[in-house]
Symmetry: D2
């Protein structure tokens, strides 16, 4: 089977995006799954277009997207994506949609179709803090999660999809007092566990 994993480029003044640092360090094969890796731009719509192109090309069985959630303390597996863009800062190509539906004809929300509770449980078994999150925000992360689930739904594809937010890396919080971070090693391990769970359930 094939699992497509997406990560983002840096945004919001950061020099790195932990999701891409994790992506680069993922094994190419995890259990019985071939891992296809793609970095997408932190840009509304464009991120989804790039992901969909890749989905068409490689026909994965599942898509796992990873993104930075600066300020969060643990690996947070997103439960739901909502049909709204509301950007506090411009994306990497200067777009800043405010209170705009992602797809005016789309469902108000899509729930992740990967086994979120089992992913959290298995990550925690390896002593890495993890939890379910009930919001992926209203920026590009939520947009990408919504966009992929909406595409899969509208085309009745047999592809599981979901999103995992990860904290800052330690290097990113050197000048951000009282801000939590997580080591790259633990983040890579957590995402590989998530992929194992997705592969096993497919």
């Amino acid at each position: 089977m094939k699992i497509l994993v997406t990560a983002f480029d840096p945004f919001g003044g950061e020099n790195i995006n932990p999701s891409y640092e994790v992506l680069k360090n993922l094994k190419d094969n995890i259990e019985n799954a071939e891992i296809i890796k793609i970095q997408v731009p932190t840009a509304f719509y464009l991120s989804v277009e790039r992901a969909i192109e890749k989905i068409k090309e490689v026909k994965p069985d599942a898509v796992l997207s990873i993104g930075q959630a600066g300020g969060r303390y643990d690996i947070s597996v997103e439960r739901v994506a909502i049909n709204i863009d509301d950007a506090r800062i411009p994306d990497n190509i200067g777009q800043q949609p405010i209170d705009t539906p992602i797809d005016p004809k789309g469902a108000p929300a899509y729930f992740a179709t990967i086994p979120i509770k089992e992913i959290v449980e298995e990550i925690r078994k390896e002593n890495i803090p993890a939890s379910i999150s009930n919001t992926a925000g209203t920026y590009v992360c939520n947009h990408l999660m919504y966009g992929i689930l909406n595409y899969v739904h509208k085309n009745s594809l047999n592809i599981k999809a979901g999103f995992i937010h990860i904290p800052y890396l330690p290097v990113q919080v050197l000048n951000k007092p009282n801000t939590p971070s997580m080591s790259l090693g633990d983040m890579v391990k957590a995402i590989e566990i998530a992929i194992k769970v997705i592969a096993k359930n497919n």
Copy 2:
């Protein structure tokens, strides 16, 4: 030269103490310094007694104490120890002093004699979050820091001494939502950097 490094046993309902996990993983020789390791009990006075016994035995050039500061976000190098015990919970042998001077004839406070600013700077150069802390609390950590500095001062010994607080390990925060942690690898690295700085300055 010799550097004595002290760590504590678990307290406050925890199964592990990150300071001891770090201690076990420290190299035995760092730069030109021989590292002598000792675990002391999380107990007022007894912790200092054990440290002093060891100081008498090995005659170190410096003493670095490490302790857990649950809830802190980074490696925090303590600036000062104050002459007071004020325990929110009993120590590991049931003592709970309230507003009691550690040494009624001691100075009101002692400043660390290790180069705290340089230690913070060097740890941060390795991309590990670190800062100066202006309070080691009023529990056993402050007591030990005060006790060692007081002993060194009263006996006019040529021994540098200081204290570094470290965050929880990830495993400790699995059931503590929104609580920061740091990987063992980064904590060991940070303490070894601190030791290098102490050795270089001696």
Copy 3:
């Protein structure tokens, strides 16, 4: 016009619920709106039933629900309710649904139909911290918000509905270190501002 305001009874070991303390202190008439107040139980389904009974009885033009969000720093106006119950603790009548749709035939989510951005803006103009929240959680608060919006939608009623989460009161955090709170006066003022905005837009 009439605005129905709902609040909850205490839950989760608390002796009071700030939403009810606020409710009791609201004026009976705000601008041109008559305020009808109801406390509903912190219980899945039952809370919605009680609210719907009252809606049928008083035929309000809008329904504003208030609930406690312990740990939040400001007045948070909820953007969206999602079709899921997932309870970390039992509700006040012992129910603890896990990953259960609120209405298996309902929409995956409903967006608030009150003017959330304008409410936030007007509250902030009065120097009270407020923001949009993108998750009302998966406990009784989200359930009530979803239930009312679902009822309004299914019956094509001309009723605006929304939910505002408020922080703990100071008295609730006396024994919760490093937990934010807000004064009753500011919370009452904020909710009255929200009601004014709803009344003005109706």
Copy 4:
């Protein structure tokens, strides 16, 4: 009896200083104590000079200093002032001492001589969050607390002295997400309770 209460002018980019807002709102007589109010500049040494001038002028029985501690959650009654200036930002007249003793001949630290535990207890009885703090930092607040206690000590005066840090006001955190604040009413009430305790113990 007379109690001198000091507060600071705004610093660090803030337009107001909650300590001064509180000062302006204090009653002129609390129990049997006449309250003398003075605003001192947020400036090393100059703040102490101004306070000492006033002490000489009014000969108070006690001095209570109030200062802003942005980011703290509750009324925090300081236990100790340490003999060091270490400024992260310049003070209001451009001075930024780094690792400099306040008084090279002074004690390493002075403990507050007001009844800090009783003050905390009485404030909490009125349902306002309060706690002991073990660090007043190394900026002007600690400097003023140290400076006054040092002056009292060196001149063997019969004057009790101490320092209370207060959180931001709500208006100050409008653009600081996830930052705690406290209402002016609760802060004034807390300081008046502290003054009552000081008056009663004198």
